[in-house]
């Protein structure tokens, strides 16, 4: 798969003694939606965070659109601009309005004109359904609204790939669906996505591929239907039984 958008080759990472990522090989094609699941501490968040080097790796290489992920400096910043990221805890800039949150990247990084950026931002906020909140501050919004703004903020950079790190885990149950809906729309629109989540409904309807991780390694990869119906490995079955039954 030479035309993969994201390529991870023999990636290893240690936190001191802990071998957090073991020999990870993963290709993500353009327009593909990959859902990563696994028990907590399995390294799934670490994996996704290495793709824009919020976590460094000790071995292996990561390529984005054929380009090797730089380790620091301007090159890294430039590449990060092409990779959108949505965090578990939203991380909206607390001192900026919703609109400013979305325009900051385009204006400061892409050097877009302020009015163009605002127009674009309003369009994106419209798309995620929080346009009427544009002049408020993050703290004034609900969790679900904040997360949708965070998605808009990432989209404003027109990224090649979007990373979602447990985007609904910090949300109250009634707000989960509004965020998932936005993500579903993106998936249908052909956005390349890597999503760490346990939301089975989302995985079933949006994922092209499931990646199951445990103890820092990729244990199993499959399409969602086959994965949920008949996981090949004991570990995956065990995990699935824990999250599905009761």
């Amino acid at each position: 798969m030479a035309d993969a958008l994201v390529e991870m080759r023999g990636v290893n990472k240690w936190y001191g003694e802990l071998h957090a990522l073991k020999e990870i090989n993963l290709d993500i094609a353009e327009r593909e939606v990959v859902v990563v699941i696994g028990p907590s501490g399995s390294g799934k968040s670490t994996l996704i965070r290495t793709i824009n080097r919020l976590e460094s790796i000790q071995e292996g290489e990561i390529l984005i659109d054929g380009e090797r992920l730089p380790e620091e400096g301007k090159g890294l910043a430039k590449l990060r601009a092409d990779v959108g990221m949505v965090f578990q805890s939203f991380n909206l800039f607390a001192h900026k309005t919703i609109l400013e949150n979305v325009t900051l990247g385009p204006v400061k990084v892409k050097k877009m004109g302020k009015s163009d950026a605002e127009e674009k931002a309003r369009g994106l906020l419209e798309r995620v359904g929080v346009a009427h909140q544009a002049d408020k501050y993050p703290a004034e919004l609900s969790g679900g609204q904040q997360q949708r703004v965070a998605i808009a903020r990432a989209l404003a950079m027109e990224p090649k790939v979007m990373l979602f790190d447990e985007p609904t885990s910090a949300l109250d149950p009634e707000m989960i669906n509004e965020v998932l809906q936005v993500m579903l729309d993106l998936a249908e629109g052909g956005t390349t996505m890597v999503v760490v989540t346990h939301e089975m409904g989302f995985a079933r309807s949006a994922a092209d591929r499931m990646v199951f991780m445990d103890e820092g390694e990729i244990v199993e990869e499959n399409d969602p239907e086959s994965f949920y119906k008949g996981a090949k490995t004991e570990r995956a079955r065990d995990f699935l039984s824990k999250i599905i039954t009761h």
């Binding site: 910043a77 990060r80 601009a81 965090f87 800039f93 001192h95 900051l104 990084v109």
Partner: protein
């Protein structure tokens, strides 16, 4: 009572000017030192971090009076000879600077790492991240403690009288000797200190309100 103050007003005025000059110079110096030491303390270079922690620990665990005496009697031997006023300004600035560094450092650390990660994730480099995200958020948390530092620094100028700087407290001490009207002499200085601090307190509260409003 009033004629006492009309008569000795020029003395008080001179002392007030010295005190104000001392506080302006030493506090400016403290701000500069504070930024540098705080920068050292959060830097990835181990010796700079150790130096900064050592600096802060040294000044935090010593009385200002000892700092003044060491500066006054020690620094001369290093080949620099300063008069009392510059010595006091530098010693006080270095002393307050240690506290300032702590305030700035905790201001920086009060910004959650998630904010910085989000900034990095949209492609902000080190300088833009500092300018757009970290500093604006840190400023909010440090205004009040910096105000308190200013007040402390202002009151600490009095210690300069121990190395013969003729500031406000020195003046009241001198007037006790000259006039034998102890309480009047002392109260004059106390009133001036109180008035100036009331004003400074108001300024910092206004600043705080202005920057806090946006959240």
């Amino acid at each position: 009572m009033l004629e006492f103050y009309t008569e000795y007003w020029p003395d008080y005025w001179d002392g007030t000017l010295v005190t104000l000059r001392l506080v302006v110079i030493s506090f400016t110096l403290a701000c500069i030192i504070g930024v540098i030491i705080a920068g050292f303390r959060v830097s990835p270079v181990p010796p700079l971090r150790s130096f900064a922690s050592g600096y802060v620990a040294l000044f935090r665990n010593m009385p200002l009076l000892v700092v003044f005496f060491l500066a006054f009697f020690g620094v001369g031997d290093l080949g620099f000879v300063f008069g009392p006023f510059p010595t006091a300004a530098v010693a006080l600035g270095m002393y307050t600077g240690a506290y300032m560094a702590e305030v700035i450092r905790s201001g920086i650390n009060s910004v959650s790492s998630g904010q910085a990660e989000a900034g990095r994730a949209i492609g902000l480099g080190f300088i833009p991240l500092l300018r757009e995200i970290v500093i604006p958020q840190a400023v909010r948390t440090v205004i009040a403690p910096i105000g308190n530092l200013f007040i402390a620094n202002f009151k600490n100028t009095a210690v300069a009288l121990t190395i013969s700087v003729f500031e406000l407290t020195y003046i009241s001490r001198k007037l006790i000797n000259e006039t034998a009207r102890t309480w009047l002499s002392l109260l004059g200085a106390a009133i001036i200190y109180t008035v100036i601090l009331l004003f400074a307190g108001w300024v910092f509260r206004t600043l705080e309100d202005r920057y806090a409003i946006k959240r």
